[in-house]
């Protein structure tokens, strides 16, 4: 199967600091790819380039077989993201924010889609609340809701479960796997929770100081580094540098 995302030689320099350094990877249809790495490794910067928010210094990004720069509008309408770094307008209710997103992406049948997503993410109790009044976990659910609302083919999730309680985090993971299965969605994912990474990812890419230092399934990676689990691999790699 043709990869749905192809990243090759992706590099970002801010002045003379290199945040992302010649990164190449692919995401296959329906695959969950975990992007792992210590603070400052370049994960968020990579996401931002994939979303067209930051211009790469070098390298290329192709999605659905098309170049991101030349087909930005077409590609981004089939992509969505969620991140701990974003928020949504505070003076709108959760539902109004979803409505604006739906309109922005040109969805039809908006009311039905919103109902579905609200149900899936168990947002009934706060759908009419002002976004300002949401707890951080509810906020995370709202940004996730906006991400799946638009029925994307690729989801970029930057630490999506960072502020969720274990119960909700568990449900979100189950939900993501479920959407992946039913919609054949591909997901690129970051998290500092190693168990979550092991549970979610079909494959893992380990970034360090902007470079890919390991790539493969969880098993391949743990075996290669002679460790029992991902956490140990992480500690080994992070401490060696």
């Amino acid at each position: 199967m043709l990869p749905i995302v192809e990243v090759s030689g992706l590099t970002k320099r801010f002045g003379d600091f290199t945040a992302v350094d010649g990164v190449s990877f692919e995401i296959r249809p329906g695959e969950i790819l975990g992007l792992l790495g210590p603070n400052g490794a370049g994960k968020t910067t990579t996401f931002q380039m994939l979303l067209g928010l930051v211009t790469p210094t070098a390298g290329s990004i192709r999605m659905f077989g098309k170049d991101l720069v030349q087909h930005r509008e077409e590609i981004l309408s089939q992509v969505n993201f969620s991140s701990t770094y974003i928020s949504m307008p505070y003076s709108l209710t959760a539902e109004e924010n979803l409505w604006v997103t739906a309109k922005l992406y040109g969805l039809s049948d908006i009311a039905r889609r919103i109902d579905e997503v609200v149900k899936k993410l168990e947002m009934e109790e706060f759908r009419h609340k002002l976004t300002r009044k949401l707890s951080s976990g509810q906020m995370t659910r709202l940004t996730l809701a906006k991400a799946i609302l638009t029925e994307p083919k690729i989801l970029f999730l930057d630490e999506p479960t960072a502020s969720l309680d274990p119960d909700i985090a568990h449900k979100i993971r189950a939900l993501l796997k479920d959407v992946r299965r039913s919609a054949g969605l591909s997901i690129l994912y970051t998290s500092h929770n190693m168990r979550e990474m092991e549970e979610m990812s079909d494959r893992i890419i380990f970034l360090q100081k902007g470079k890919v230092v390991a790539q493969g399934t969880v098993q391949e990676i743990t075996e290669r580094f002679g460790q029992r689990d991902l956490e140990e691999v992480f500690l080994k790699l992070a401490r060696e540098s």
Binding site: L51, G52, L53, P89, S91, K103
Partner: protein, 263 residues
């Protein structure tokens, strides 16, 4: 350009205004106070009517028209600031939304804002000072349109600066327009200015509008030459500033500022 995306942005701001008292105040309270103060000044000046013919009609008309420009500028800049304050820029620009659609939405919003503020001011001027702005006549329409466009130009300029230089530049949202006020000859004719500044002022489309307005109010006919200049300059600057906005937008994407403004 896709209408649904522009519509999405406009609705987002209407939701916001619907429940925000400070934002509504901005539309009604300040313009109203402005008018009250200037109204009294005008009443006072009326005592010297003999020495200063037409002073009353000049002042309130000028004030209302200046507010058209000011609110048009604010409509653009504040809409952008709202996105920064709510950390929403990423949501917008990681969607298929184009910078030009963003501008189109803020321009439309600024027209709403101008329409509302103008209604308040026109009504208040009429009730409190029996001042009827419509005595300017038919030329009022091209005047207002030109001032809105000049407001847009200053608004997009300010927005570009805020996008590029971040939080420190936020004060420009309120201050920038007043840099243009002295050379817009709002309350005084252009020949009051020193010669070199007159040359600068003539390059400002707003000056042509206000000169034209004074012409009409002192009995002249439709000021075709002034309007011609205003339209020409506005078009030139509008095209230029939209180019500058896109250029700044790309610089911000290079430097990774788009995801950081407001932090």
């Amino acid at each position: 350009m896709k209408i649904h995306r522009i519509q999405a942005l406009i609705t987002r701001h209407l939701f916001l205004y619907k429940r925000s008292l400070p934002r509504l105040m901005e539309i009604f309270y300040w313009p109203f106070l402005d008018l009250v103060v200037w109204g009294f000044i005008t009443v006072y000046l009326m005592k010297f009517q003999g020495q200063l013919p037409g002073v009353v009609t000049f002042f309130l008309g000028a004030l209302i028209l200046w507010d058209v420009l000011f609110r048009a500028q604010q409509g653009i800049t504040i809409s952008f600031l709202e996105e920064i304050w709510s950390r929403n820029l990423m949501n917008l620009f990681a969607s298929p939304l184009k910078p030009s659609e963003f501008l189109a939405a803020t321009m439309t919003l600024s027209v709403f804002k101008v329409a509302m503020v103008s209604c308040v001011m026109v009504a208040a001027a009429y009730f409190f000072y029996s001042y009827n702005v419509f005595m300017i006549g038919l030329s009022l329409i091209p005047f207002v349109v030109n001032l809105i466009v000049t407001g847009w130009i200053i608004g997009v300029l300010t927005t570009s600066l805020i996008m590029r230089f971040g939080q420190e530049a936020e004060v420009l949202a309120w201050g920038m327009v007043f840099l243009f006020q002295p050379i817009s000859c709002v309350f005084y004719p252009i020949d009051i200015l020193p010669k070199w500044l007159q040359a600068v002022a003539w390059a400002n489309p707003a000056t042509h509008v206000f000169e034209g307005m004074r012409g009409v109010l002192s009995g002249g006919s439709l000021p075709v030459a002034h309007l011609g200049w205003a339209v020409g300059l506005n078009l030139l600057y509008l095209v230029t500033i939209i180019g500058v906005f896109h250029w700044t937008f790309n610089i911000c994407k290079e430097k990774g500022l788009l995801v950081r403004v407001g932090e």
